[in-house]
């Protein structure tokens, strides 16, 4: 069910109505039911996967939790009689058993994810390798469709698993509640990936009708639809046209695609998350922000702290830190410091861990080489900019521009250019083509397309550009206003008529200017196939 379908609007309207009319102690159960109905509508035969994930996660976590309780009890009881070595040995023994449970859960769930998502990719590469070595045969592809949200809920559940293993918090003993955590439907389509202790603060509580919260939530939902329908779906027409004919739309059109695709991705993804967080807010549930004005990032590292935040933090906590603090890795660090000297030796483990993270991040986005290359390009940019730090320092020592407005603007433009450029891999899907098209931007530059009506040949007319321009200005204005604090709070502090007028205008703008209906293909959320 797409966020922008009529069915979905009816679905959440019904949910909101029921949620606040039934006895409060059933509210989370209602959410669970609705989440499973949502999943059922998306594809009934995929329910089995999310159920397996839920059950295995529940069991493994509960067992690990049990071992912790026994451990605490044992240590308490025998505080006096045990030596430190005994305690350590006992702890490590328990840890081994817990590790087995964690490993099983990780293998089952990541295994499922890998097979479902990457089996054909693996087969394709095996076949390619076989071909290279002259073997005539190849493996045949498997026909597997992706269960809705599998990348998101698997990561969310495994994060929970690892947290419980690390003793961060006790496991959830109620299977229903855990099932809700795994399947909470607003998050299924494109995240964010929540932490259990964070989400649980509000997910299972009893919620009163809170008019302010609800109207804030509704405003947020409308804002998301505005970005999605008025901006993203409109500019999607041009994006598809540009991608669809690489022969006709090379040269400066590639730059247009860079800009347009970035706009589309931003509007679509942040808009979708707005809807998610807004729905949760109406339900009285707090979902963490996933974006923080990413267009204003001054460098790539900062960008990844502002874009798809929950994914970045997931990889940081569950992949990057574990890898870089792994004993063998630390040993390797010591070794490489001896071998290659302090400078390089120190950086090697970081680079290796980062490489692994970015490789995985790329693969997470899609099971094809263009996504992995994209991930690695992010890695490359980060590493290069890190290495360039001394050079920058020298530059800023000579010229006094650091911190000036112009410098900041330059940094913002540079970051946006870099990120948009490597995102071309998303568009053209094929790595060689992408590099070729990117090159043609310089080799076959033709700036006349900006003046001779070339921009009217890609599926948008003059009125569309007006709508886009005004809508983007509104978004920009809101972003600027947001730096001073929540925009909705600012509106709230004005007379009621202002808030209502804004609400109404947004609604009308969506209905009239939204790019939906017959004539516009109902576009999938880009992250829908995750």
């Amino acid at each position: 069910m797409l966020f922008t379908s009529h069915t979905f609007v009816i679905f959440i309207s019904l949910l909101f109505l029921l949620y606040y009319t039934i006895p409060k102690k059933y509210q989370w159960k209602l959410l669970l039911a609705f989440s499973y109905v949502f999943y059922f509508i998306a594809g009934p035969k995929f329910l089995i996967y999310i159920i397996i994930t839920t059950v295995t996660t529940y069991l493994a976590a509960v067992r690990i939790g049990k071992h912790y309780r026994h451990l605490d009890a044992y240590l308490k009881e025998n505080k006096q009689t045990l030596t430190r070595e005994d305690k350590k040995a006992y702890k490590s023994g328990v840890k081994k058993i817990q590790w087995k449970w964690l490993l099983s859960a990780l293998l089952v769930n990541f295994g499922m994810l890998f097979v479902i998502k990457y089996i054909n990719f693996t087969i394709a590469n095996i076949n390619w390798t076989l071909e290279v070595f002259g073997s005539g045969q190849g493996l045949s592809f498997v026909s597997i469709a992706l269960p809705l949200g599998i990348s998101f809920y698997t990561f969310q559940s495994m994060g929970y698993m690892i947290d419980v293993y690390r003793g961060k918090y006790p496991p959830e003993r109620n299977l229903g509640k855990l099932a809700l955590f795994v399947s909470f439907f607003p998050q299924l389509i494109q995240g964010p990936i929540s932490r259990f202790d964070d989400l649980a603060k509000t997910l299972f509580k009893e919620h009163q009708i809170d008019a302010k919260n609800m109207s804030f939530g509704l405003q947020r939902i409308l804002w998301g639809y505005f970005k999605k329908l008025v901006i993203a779906d409109r500019i999607l027409v041009a994006v598809n046209t540009l991608i669809g004919d690489t022969a006709a739309f090379d040269g400066s059109y590639v730059f247009v695609l860079m800009v347009f695709y970035t706009i589309q991705l931003y509007a679509d993804f942040t808009g979708g998350i707005d809807i998610t967080i807004g729905i949760a807010q109406v339900l009285g549930i707090k979902v963490q922000e996933n974006f923080l004005r990413p267009a204003f990032a001054k460098n790539t590292a900062e960008f990844w702290r502002r874009w798809h935040i929950s994914l970045g933090t997931w990889f940081k906590e569950y992949l990057f830190y574990p890898i870089s603090t792994w004993q063998p890795m630390l040993k390797f660090t010591r070794y490489s410091r001896q071998k290659f000297g302090d400078r390089i030796g120190k950086r090697l483990p970081v680079y290796i861990a980062a490489f692994a993270v970015w490789f995985t991040t790329g693969a997470w986005h899609g099971s094809s080489w263009n996504f992995i290359v994209w991930g690695l390009l992010n890695f490359a940019v980060l590493m290069i900019s890190d290495e360039l730090k001394p050079l920058y320092a020298m530059f800023h020592g000579r010229f006094n521009v650091e911190g000036t407005f112009h410098h900041k603007v330059f940094q913002i433009l540079r970051t946006n250019f870099l990120m948009s450029a490597i995102r071309l891999l998303d568009c053209y899907r094929d790595v060689p083509t992408t590099f070729r098209m990117f090159g043609s931007m310089f080799a076959r530059a033709d700036l006349s397309i900006f003046t001779n009506g070339g921009l009217l040949d890609i599926g948008l007319n003059v009125e569309d550009y007006w709508v886009l321009a005004i809508a983007l200005m509104v978004v920009f204005a809101v972003a600027i206003a947001q730096r001073r604090g929540s925009v909705r709070e600012q509106l709230y502090s004005k007379p009621a008529i202002v808030g209502r007028a804004v609400f109404y205008l947004l609604f009308v703008a969506i209905i009239v200017f939204g790019a939906y209906g017959i004539g516009y293909e109902s576009s999938q959320f880009i992250y829908n196939q995750f």
């Binding site: 830190y321 603090t325 630390l330 660090t333 120190k346």
Partner: protein, 74 residues
């Protein structure tokens, strides 16, 4: 504590590590810094900081970090 301060100053000479207690909150130390630190701490003190201890509370100030190291040495 001296060694630790030296390590930190090496990475970011411009920062006052004696007194600053918002190293993470202010974004002075990023994830790469943390990883480098952990490797160095392992090298210097022979102590491995587990991933679950990589939380802002432990890294926001040199003092907190040193306390963590001492705790792990036990």
């Amino acid at each position: 504590m001296e060694t630790l301060l030296e390590m930190l100053k090496d990475m970011h000479p411009e920062v006052d590590f004696e007194n600053n207690d918002k190293l993470i909150d202010q974004g002075i130390l990023d994830s790469f810094d943390i990883v480098s630190l952990i490797a160095e701490i392992d090298n210097e003190y022979g102590v491995t900081i587990p991933p679950e201890s990589i939380i802002p509370e432990n890294f926001n100030s040199a003092k907190a970090l040193y306390a963590l190291i001492e705790k792990l040495e036990d």
